[in-house]
Amino acid sequence: MTPAALLDVQGLSLEFRTRTGVVKALEDVSFTVAKGEIVGVVGESGSGKSVAAFAIMGLLEDTARITSGAVSLSGIDLLADGRGALRDLRGREMSMIFQSPRTALNPIRTIGRQIEDVLVRHGPVARKEARGRAIEALRRVRIPDPERRCDAYPFELSGGMCQRVMIAMALACDPMLLIADEPTTGLDVTTQAVVMDLIAEIVADSRMGAVLITHDLGLAGEYCDRIVVMHAGHVVETAPAAALLARPSHSYTRQLVAATPAAAATIADLASIPGGMPDLRRDDLPYCRFEARCALREPICGAEPTPTHVVGAGHDVRCWRPA
């Protein structure tokens, strides 16, 4: 564990109460993010990666209940503080970039005005100075002609431009932590490359920490220092990006790597992961939630709590039989 962890998530468990039962969305989730580090959180839909991000940001719905665990941002307990305190941190010290920028932006306010709102609410910025600062923020994400674009509405900009506006807004108050939830889903590969280069550059320059939530292992491999693999609410493997891709140790990670089209030479090499995730409403969830899909399954996997093994430097695997 790095001593200077900026974000520290320890043993976080979370449930959603629904009409059809209690969904155990996260169980014992732990990971850290250091300053200047990009940590990728990877998994299929339903693995709990977005829920974890919402829990950190304090954006959970009322039906969610955190049953155990701790989340702290540079020593400040994010779960203990009242909602008001969290509201002050959110936006100023930590901010989030959402999927589909066009729906995350307000369609009837100019983008400059929306950035000004963030500055006035969270920063010690007067409305009079806000416009200049908003233009500055747009220039930082390399939007051409920011003075004019400031007065544009979201519908007048392309998807890639809107995502840059989201980034500008998230970075306007120089947060310590940036959470990007699938920031490039729906963008073209060429635009994705430009947006990701920009995020990587800003993180490196400003020494903030970042969490990149994605289902694309290739993207996480290129831009992240470390990768956290999630499956059905569990962290199954954590490792430096290069080590994870070169020597995936959990059988889920191995199958995820093999199912990525970029890793396959021909269609015959493309692996598919059998089955689906277990129903997280079940009362009799096995200790290993991957058990039913795993080719290396043994009786002990479902019957006893899964241990975490250290298989390399900073490389942890939650499995009885790590490779």
Partner: protein, 329 residues
Amino acid sequence: MTPLLEASGLARHFPVGTGRARGMLHAVDGVDLVIGRGESVGLVGESGCGKSTLARLLGRLIEPTAGALRFDGADIGGIPLRRFVGAPDRARIQMVFQDPTESLNPHFRVFDTVADPVRRLLGVRDARTIDARVARTLELVGLTGDFAGRYPHQLSGGQKARVGIARAIVVEPELLILDEPTSALDVSVQAVILHLLADLRSRLGMSYLFVSHDLEVVRLLCDRVVVMYLGKVAEAGPTAALFAAPRHPYTRSLLAAVPDPERRGPPPPRLSGSPTSPIDPDPNRCRFENRCPRAQPICATHIPELATVGAGHLAACHFAEPQPTQRET
């Protein structure tokens, strides 16, 4: 042997704006494309480049503004859409759509969704024949058991994608046009659907036109790739040659933008700026000129034609010579 589908000079323009801002949006602008029997052709490009419009033109879902379309040697481009819906060729070209949720009728059970084209396009009335045909097709796409009686909301994303494929192949088309069939799916489900598509093609001998923005998926599934940029074909060639030695600068930047987990250090040069407007473009100017790293004065005054640069390999660029580092073998 005549190719299965042959498009020449195919174009589709949409009127946009009002008053003085009125113009013509050139979504597809003079595309020549050939799909051979049993061939799988990939169509790639950025969003807004016209690839979905081209897919709809080739699938005869919208009328072209200009150009000719021949299917199995017969001119089908001249038949009005209203008549084509009832023509026997309608069943021979089928489409699989992007969003498996939006493209299924929520009031139709899986059985009705798949049976509908059998009744409408093949005119089959006998209930037992329809039952047998639907059951066989659902088995082909791996939906066995009680799936026939379910509604779309009772299915997962991958299962809905299978229903979309079943609906298209139940009439045994010769050409299947797939418009981003896996872009809404998780990698694990995507892998299963890609295997299914590869398997169906080898079993049923269909031709594919596979529209995608995911170059890696196209590489796995297609024999030939067509790269589009702003309504025009920038490059076309055999998959292996195009990936190993791309000739058009746009194709090169497209390939360089694919995430590379091995990469460390500074990123490769990226495409800057955005495409020029597709509304009333300058007919003499290369569409890629404003973003091209190799642009010369000639590119602004003469639009490059598609020219042969290798075996079955075409590129529309004045400077399409191979890169010194990527010489063709």
